[in-house]
Amino acid sequence: MANTSTTTTRKLGKAIDLKYQPGFSQIAWFCIAVLYAPIAVLVFFSFNENRSVTVWTQFSLDWYVKAWNNEGIQHAALISLEVALVAMIVSTIMATMAALVTTRTEAYRGLNSAIAVINQPLMVPEIVTAVATLIFFAIIKQVTGVSGIGYLIAAHTAFCIPFAYMPIRARLEDMNLSLEQAAADLYAPPFKVFRRVTLPLMMPGILAGAMLAFIVSLDDVIITLFVAGPGETTLPLYILGQIRRGVTPEINAVSTVFVGISVILVTFIFLFGKNKK
């Protein structure tokens, strides 16, 4: 209905379009330009043959080849993948479990505090969490003498949980209980109801949640900067180190690949989101 009214009013002109506000469309386009121009420049100069990242000479893929063969980048990429994969799997399982008992339920004692705890990492500035985690892990290391990449993975898992939780919860809230009740009426035991009805229905939410957790872990700089031990340099930390040393098209090439991965994953999440309707 809104659709037909807008098309007719468009024919009659902006003068009587209820929704029109002067200048707003220009600002929206300006907003998109601001958001994309810097990234466009970055991507553009990653294909520059020259060492410069501002003066264009010739198209070349040299910097991608260089980045691909760079051992520092290879190692950092593997660490990043390892941390992100484990953090993604663990946090998604935890978030799924938590979402199952915090949605579609009558209020019970602890429900609101549980939701508040899950969302806590979103409310505290990352630098504070990073410092707190650094101190906490330093104490544990001192007491137990255990070190390793486990600390980094645990820290990532904790802040990935709310990101995985959001789309799973949203998906569950869109589902009504009738299918599950029907299965239960047909004498399906609770676990079977979950496995055959609930789980398949909430799968798009779980996949979206897992991808968000993966992106968030892959992108993290601040907490990783504080928690990562020697030899645990992730790709963002490697890039940060390089930027501080000086600007090269090699960073542009790695960054472009990085941005590309994010874009692909976000596109998938977007498509999952559309499917439910």
């Binding site: 659709n3 600002i27 300006f30 707190a132 645990a154 904790a158 941005v259």
Partner: protein, 318 residues
Amino acid sequence: MGSGMTDQPTTHIQLSSSVVAEAKRLRNTRYALLAPGILTIFCIGIMPLSIVLVYSFLEPGDFGGISWVLSFDAYVQLLFEEDIFDETLSFTTDYIQIFLRSVSLALFTTIACLLVGFPTAYFIATQPPARRNAWLFLITIPFWTNLLIRTYAMLLILRDQGVINLSLIEIGLIDSPIPMLYTDFAVCLGLVYAYLPFMVLPIFASLEKLDFRLVEASYDLYATRFKVLRRIIVPLAKPGIAAGCILVMIPSLGAFITPALLGGGKSLMLGNLIELQFGQARNWPFGSAIALVLMVLVMLSLISYLRFGAKKGTPAHG
């Protein structure tokens, strides 16, 4: 629960006990499923915050870390400087300046994001569905793109040999590059660029549900476009505006990457100061104290959000 029901009245007592057992089982399932996530966040996210509080009242260790001596030095240091030679204290504004810069940059960033974000969100919300999704997709992509890389892209544009300066020289408008990097302006621009999607998306969410019959009614009553915007649309979008502001404000207050890359040593914010204390300066108690100051700022913004912003707005009268 339905499986326990039968027609015989004699099973009444059994039934109620099975209902109790069922309720108990449900409660156990709930807590068992919640436990892993809650415990992980509690142990890694919440409990360490109290350790930070304790550490801020201790003395720094010789090689980083702390030594277990009660001391208020960390808080004194925020306001006073100790003379190296005679150990007298004198008032210093160094840290107050950084504190004020963080607050004002975060406020400027929030206002700038609102000025650009609100019209954008409104424009998107009034588009036909297909185009609306495309716009939303375009806003969402930067939201999930690595902040470090986006800030680096900003650095490429702003620096002396950057795109802006080189093109201005090229067309002959200026002779030598305008220094833009390592200024408060660069940090503010970087923050706006970083957190703009955080403003657009919640405002869009509340404008999407806007009932345009109210707008129509006010036009019928001879309201001007600006009056409709101010009296009808903005009040109805208030929850989204408040959510957007808090989502931009909190990360801006605690920003670290943006001031580190675009502000350099000249435009430090609280986040950089904290990192400095845990890195080069090796003064963990002082770093902890600044982290707590930052937490207090965040709490104040959250409280004002809950007080004034979270309530659903109604169109203004009169």
